[in-house]
Subunit: 146 residues, 2 copies
């Protein structure tokens, strides 16, 4: 992994109110990232970035994450074609979470073929209910699982 190109962290107040990007990466070198649809606001997925992924996302305007299972950078859409064009990148108060909003032309965010990874709601009795609409692609075709 490349060295962290971002500013070293300064004081609590400077981190929360200042205008310097000082992302806090965990012991594993990763920061949480929420991806939402720039137009509807719908939350599409939750993933992680390392410093290189965040730098690339800022510089290229294409959402780039770090895949914990594959242990490598992951340019969203590399395999499925559903590239995420960045509309806006935000950081939370203590700069340990990134929120990116992406262009709504992007198809399915979820590897299961749904628009959003959050395609099931929790009912009050603890059962789940599908709310994610139709699948936009068949994962077994796109990812050639079979």
């Amino acid at each position: 992994m490349n060295s962290n190109p971002f500013n070293p962290r300064t004081s609590h107040d400077e981190i929360e109110t200042g205008l310097k990007l000082q992302p806090k990466f965990g012991h594993d070198g990763l920061i949480s990232c929420i991806t939402a649809d720039a137009d509807s606001g719908e939350v599409l997925m939750f993933s992680f970035m390392n410093a290189e992924a965040l730098r690339m996302t800022i510089e290229t305007g294409k959402a780039t994450y770090y895949s914990r299972s594959r242990k490598k950078l992951w340019i969203k859409g590399e395999e499925s074609g559903n590239v995420f064009d960045i509309r806006e990148i935000k950081v939370d108060c203590d700069q340990d979470v990134i929120l990116i909003t992406v262009d709504s032309r992007a198809g399915a965010a979820c590897h299961r073929g749904f628009r959003s990874c959050f395609y099931r709601k929790v009912n009050s009795d603890g059962t789940l209910e599908h709310t994610g609409g139709k699948r936009l692609f068949d994962p077994e075709v796109v990812y050639r699982k079979k």
Copy 2:
């Protein structure tokens, strides 16, 4: 901490396509939780729940988290009065992230007094810019910091 009241995890396919809630808590007993405004879709904050917080959120309809800094359950709004009434609870494909949408009457989500914790955007040159509007409360009054 109480024992986990949720189902034990079953197969990968059952977790991703089934209709049983099988949340995956980390080694620290916590699951990531995204909170968004039910009407606008705006992401308000990112926090954590333990099994008890998730159970209480489902049962009471009030957002309840687990505070890592205070090491205890945290009913949102206990101190500030900005209770979050739940509109919908969702779970992601592999059931390791919870998404709750909350009633938009809720005031500021952020301890800094802003509507959302994501009150700064990252510019392409890596500087930050305030985009969060006016503060809805003064944290030093609400939390009596001074």
